[in-house]
Symmetry: C2
Subunit: 432 residues, 2 copies
């Protein structure tokens, strides 16, 4: 039986050096669990001369990917370099060389996940990607194993730390989006170009990965309907609060029968909902199972050590499988054909804020429109707007199809008494 398992690393940035550090620090514990030694032997880097504050313990550095991918001594390749195009080719090459792969790359898995899992399966190799979804939260493993005897009907995830930090500050401090974003950039919580975060693209990648695994159906980024937080105003958050709601940028994967909906958008949760208590840069995934009911997994969504911990957990899994001679059994290929819900089948409750003429008849015009679509209103709040003769009206609806709701929005827009539709958000986690 193998006495040492040898590792190759693609990338030695923040996460990569975290992985090297954890393996170094946990030699004893890893040996107790897996029964053999583990050694990082070969590392692909951009720059051989760069000064690094990690102890490499004899690992060779190279700038030539083939040195690592074709090294016959290596059992497992850990990919922590990021990127999609070239990285995909490296992983395919590694798998074809019968090397098991652990990756933390959400961009890659969201776009090429199913294809890579097939290559892994063909080569009887393991491909694990726990770190690609929510850093330190073992959510993929929990979906695969812990809930393996259950049918998942819905997943809702706070999957992006930057936007959760921004919304938390806006809510707690009543601050404006642009001010908080600027502060987050200064503190290093947000990128100089924050588009992928604030427009919901990063969260969309992760909910696509979650949906694929949880529903056993190949879902990719194009299947996700995406809205970000850059249009969220202080006023929206104030009115939400008055109605007892907290706003979160949420990835939703929702199944009814054999059809699914996958989306990312800012949505409102009752303040008593566990997702409403997930603050700052933390992530959480709320899962509904037919048998188990509601569960939630909470933790850091990013960060050097949480991400590196998830990578090493995957590595432990792979190493156990190598020792046991059972690699290649763990890739869970999608089992069902993809069927997306159409707009008639997507149902939700909504929060709607608009400016209307402050005059008799306004309300009955509004409510008549909603009832013409069979939609009843749950909460209504009216206040004078700053502008003379204008009322600021906030409403929440009972469940309505997306198709009908969009028709209502269109007709509201055309209604004489309505001067402007200010904002609209889904309301989630409120089963009443």
């Amino acid at each position: 039986m193998t006495q040492t398992i040898s590792i190759g690393l693609l990338g030695l940035g923040t996460v990569g050096s975290g992985v090297v550090h954890i393996i170094e620090q946990h030699q004893d514990k890893l040996k107790h669990q897996v029964g053999c030694n583990v050694e990082v032997k070969h590392i692909l880097v951009n720059n051989l001369e760069k000064k690094r504050d990690v102890v490499l313990n004899g690992a060779k550095l190279t700038t030539n990917p083939d040195d690592v991918l074709n090294d016959p001594d290596l059992d497992v390749i850990i990919e922590v370099m990021g990127g999609v195009k070239g990285t995909k080719d490296y992983i395919v090459q590694a798998l074809q060389n019968k090397k098991h792969v652990v990756t933390a790359n959400k961009d890659l898995m969201a776009v090429h996940g199913s294809e890579l899992l097939e290559v892994a399966s063909e080569n009887r190799c393991d491909l694990f990607y726990e770190a690609s979804v929510a850093g330190g939260i073992p959510i993929l493993r929990s979906l695969v194993e812990g809930l393996s005897s259950d049918r998942i009907t819905k997943m809702m995830g706070i999957l992006n730390g930057t936007t959760n930090y921004i919304l938390t500050k806006m809510t707690q401090e009543g601050a404006a989006y642009n001010d908080v974003l600027k502060e987050a950039q200064e503190l290093g919580y947000a990128e100089a170009d924050p588009t992928a975060d604030v427009e919901g693209i990063d969260a969309a990648r992760k909910i696509a990965i979650l949906g694929t695994l949880g529903f056993s159906m190949h879902l990719d980024l194009d299947d996700v309907s995406i809205a970000g937080i850059s249009q969220v105003s202080k006023e929206d958050l104030e009115y939400s609060k008055q109605l007892g709601y907290t706003m979160k940028l949420i990835g939703i994967a929702n199944r009814t029968g054999d059809k699914v909906e996958v989306s990312v958008q800012p949505a409102l949760f009752p303040e008593t909902h566990p997702l409403a208590a997930v603050n700052d840069e933390f992530n959480a995934v709320y899962v509904y199972g037919e048998a188990v009911g509601e569960t939630m997994f909470y933790g850091p969504g990013a960060g050097k050590l949480p991400t590196a911990t998830a990578v090493v957990s995957d590595l432990v899994e792979v190493m156990k499988n190598i020792r046991l001679g059972v690699t290649g059994n763990s890739a869970v290929l999608p089992q069902f054909e993809k069927k997306l819900k159409n707009d008639e089948e997507i149902e939700a409750k909504y929060f709607l804020r608009l400016h209307a003429k402050d005059q008799p008849g306004t309300f009955s015009a509004l409510t008549a429109l909603f009832s013409s679509y069979g939609v009843s209103l749950e909460k209504i709040l009216q206040q004078p707007a700053k502008e003379e003769g204008v009322a600021d009206i906030v409403m929440t609806t009972h469940t309505v199809s997306k198709k009908n709701y969009q028709a209502i929005l269109q007709q509201l827009h055309d209604l004489d008494v309505v001067s402007e539709i200010k904002s609209s958000y889904r309301v989630e986690g409120d089963e009443s």
Copy 2:
């Protein structure tokens, strides 16, 4: 390779019939995951004649345990009958007959867990017990696998649904303990004899199991310092709320270096802490890892289907191991010698409420006592008590050793100006 895995059941009560139901409903999914059929063949019951609303599909019922334990056709025994003494003997017998065991029995695992795991290991059998700790939350699996490359320093768990329901109602409705308990009993949320729940014994069993696994150190019920909620008053909750805290009955397993503390008690959490948002009968386990930081697992702590789901998840794990020929590798025997912290080493913050004479000098006498032990106070709240000339004083301390805190309580008791110490609770989750 085995084409059908055969199961024996000990017990066919609520959880047992849930297990039969899930296996029946998920034949296809189980086969997709494990690659073979699974069949419940033999079931130990108390009464052969009892009418049951579960489809048994050819499984034989018996009142003789040996019929199940010695049935050479069975691969796995699922124990869902409860009880400790006789049940332990059954499980030992099953393991000695080389049958793998899944149990939902917390009483048994808290008392005889380490011993049973040793028997399992000797016989190269799997023994899984996910359902024994928190019903539908896959916490044991997450501790073993997800965080396998991390060192856990602290676990805090809301581990008992009955007490969490009672404290939630007391907090939300300002109701008295006895009234809520009575209501909970009427609704079936609390037993006619609620002692094991309300006095913290049930939670203590679970934190002992968690501590044993998380710290890899054999901890049993006698190692847990236990306080329940029967003395909690409406006033305590009102004052807590005023200071921004929510009370939870919490199991704590805490490690510093190689020494641990294990306890169960009502404790106060800042309202913004995720554990404070765990309401009603829900359970949650908050885990601190050196690398991953803070994570939380939330879900139903009990109930037919959640518990049965956890049992079937364990069963899937066992079946995979059988198919792969790797059973008996999963039992994680405690690795470290047990070392408990003494009272000097157990440190916490505290909430303290007392009645004192409403006169000059009272406050300086109190604060002088605390500072003589080097303890500073964080928050102070004083209000007139109902009784004339008496002040109701509430304080929270900064971190203090249990030894010093108990000495302070003793001296407060003897202090002239103090008429009565009303209550005292640990404050947790507040790292400031």
